[in-house]
């Protein structure tokens, strides 16, 4: 068969293919990514959309947990201060109940108890980043206000709303406990207890029921405080889990889209070899023909 007398276009096409492979390998090595456009790997590109979304959400869950952690800590330490104040009120109550105090002593104690009452009120109105922690979801209104019309002398202006925040796929953590539940529940109203105790101290009678009432509030608040401890433990565990998940997502991303450096390097070497081979073949392609030999 007659051969193609002008094979140069074939060589050039072969050279073009090798150069393309070289550029692809170079791009992969320099960008560090195997998938730069959807057509590089359509299936991986589709999964990467989901990967990016889950990475975004996981990062957000972690940030949310960080923010909530300090909110829970503030609430927890506020409840701790309330416990301390109630403990002091209880010991003052017990002191008054043993009947050995003079009127003047009791008056002094009444003064201290009123101070504790104000302290409790201020603690119950604790703010975190401009929001009242114990107002339910009515966070912009001062939740506890003095009101002589109330038996306890304190009126609750918050609501019973509880916010939850998503900190994992399908995992919601409660953010707050409403003040109505913590401080003014029937039978466990700490303001009522305080007001009863002050009255007992003033009248020098009815100590027992007042002390029992404060003790009930104290026990109840201690029990409720466990909520924050538990939640913070749960949040800690969830953070660990989320950090792992984030790591896995980034590994998945890397596996899907990252450059396979060894493969890219070997492709680069291969393509360079074939370019060199093609070039030297073109260089050696005989420039001579029969005309050169005719005289």
């Amino acid at each position: 068969m007659r051969v193609n007398p002008n094979p140069m276009p074939d060589y050039l096409a072969a050279l073009n293919v090798s150069r393309e492979a070289e550029q692809e390998a170079m791009a992969e090595m320099s960008s560090g990514r195997r998938v730069n456009r959807p057509s590089d790997d359509p299936a991986a590109s589709a999964i990467l959309v989901d990967n990016h979304d889950r990475t975004t959400l996981t990062t957000r869950y972690l940030t949310s947990l960080g923010l909530l952690q300090s909110q829970w800590q503030t609430a927890d330490s506020t409840l701790g201060s309330i416990e301390t104040a109630l403990t002091r009120a209880l010991s003052l109550g017990v002191e008054g109940a043993n009947g050995t105090l003079s009127d003047a002593d009791r008056t002094a104690i009444v003064g201290e108890l009123q101070g504790i009452q104000d302290q409790l009120l201020s603690l119950a109105n604790t703010e975190f980043q401009g929001r009242y922690l114990f107002a339910g979801t009515n966070t912009s209104t001062v939740p506890f206000a003095k009101d002589a019309a109330q038996p306890s002398g304190i009126r609750y202006d918050g609501n019973s709303g509880v916010n939850t925040v998503e900190v994992g796929e399908g995992l919601q953590l409660a953010v707050n406990q409403p003040g109505s539940q913590l401080f003014t529940a029937a039978g466990k109203n700490m303001f009522q207890g305080m007001s009863d105790l002050i009255q007992a101290m003033q009248s020098n009678s009815g100590f027992d029921s007042a002390i029992n009432s404060i003790r009930a509030s104290f026990d109840y608040i201690s029990a409720q405080r466990v909520f924050y401890g538990n939640t913070m433990n749960q949040a800690q565990a969830q953070s660990t889990y989320l950090n792992n998940a984030k790591l896995q997502l980034s590994q998945q991303e890397n596996t899907l889209a990252g450059a396979d450096v060894e493969a890219a390097a070997s492709n680069l070497v291969n393509s360079e070899n074939s370019i060199n081979a093609t070039l030297s073949a073109i260089g050696r392609f005989s420039q001579m023909n029969l005309f050169d030999f005719l005289k």
Binding site: P42, D53, S140, N159
Partner: protein
Amino acid sequence: MSGLYGSLSIALSSLFASQEALETTANNVANATTPGFTRQRPVLVPRDPVLFGNLTMGTGVDLQKLESLRDPILELRLNQGTQDQGKLDASLGALQQIEAMFSGTDSGIGDAISKFFDSVQQLSTDPSNMALRQGLLTAAGNLASAFNNAATNLQTQRANLDLNVSQTVGQVNNLTQQIAAVNQQIASLENSHQDAGAFVDQRTNLIRQLSGLVDVQVIQTEQSIALTTSNGTPLVSGVNSFQLSTQIGTDGMQHIFAETGEITASLTGGKLAGLLETRDQKIPALLGNLDQLAAGLATALNTAHRSGFDLNGNPGTDLFVPPPAGGVGAATALAVNITDPTLVAASSDGSVGSNGNLAVLSAVHDQAVVAGEKPLDFFSQVVFQAGSDTANASSDLNASNLILQQLQDQRNSVSGVSLDEEAANMVRYQTAYQAAARVITTVNDLLDVAVNLGRY
């Protein structure tokens, strides 16, 4: 026997034939690098013999014709290959620009959807925070503009393709006119029994160019050739060419008409088919998907948003401007309905600190909002489609290039000029010329002897 004069005339015929053969070689060598040139070879035939008594005597040689060495079947396959290549090349160019919109996960629609739900989650930790509320509206605005940009991009692509369609139709008309003119030349040359090789080469080249643009079928008729598209619409018939024209259709795009009617949908090969396929199928399908996604997402988010209460305790309004009924144009039209961050309906009970309704908005992330799919699942399918369309077109184009190269190789092995061959032929014709000249010298000597007979 015709004697010495007969020999003289025989030698003369050889001189002429060798000269003309040498000319052919010269022409082949001159065109060795001319694209599409088909080598020619002289066809030498013995002149009719004369009967002389019982002897049949030869009377010399004639150059009957110059023969162009071409394989018509190969040429047809080359046309077919060029049509495939033209089509794939045109669609790949457009598809690559389209897929660029879906490159990288850190931008574009997917990222905007993720970031929107991220902003909802962020707000849920502090639902009355004005900065975070503004953040949600900004994320919603970015989501809307991601859809707007993608849709605008696709429409711009479509408009560019459309422009390209009318330009290509102009090129087709130009080529068919040229082919008809060349047919005329070939016909008049062949009528006077002359070689039309150069014009046939020219026509072959023109048909090849035309094949790159449109699906051409070559029909050999008795005198000439006719060209039609694959559905039989005539383009050229002998010396007549038939113009294609374009008209803007109801979809605002150029439609292609022949004298016989509209042929837009029936073109199957060449650049035109690639342009039309991308313009009329690929891009509208992609736009349709984006419209559906935008409409589904906006409707679901609006419903979720309306179920809550804003910072003033009023019921939520639509978060996005409600998408058009049926969803057509939703991606282009997507826009945020509210600008005041206090109007973000985060609360589920009207209290300022409630984040209950944000969970409802978040839940849209995992709701089947379009074609039974979650928003991002649907979007990742769109990305997959754009990627695999491009990848397929690219590998098809590579395959088509290889086939075309192979065919070109075969064509050159039949029709290409080999300098070695031409050198060898040159030696042959030179020798033949020299030999014939020698015969003439000898006859001349003999005639000289005959003329001077008796002088001695």
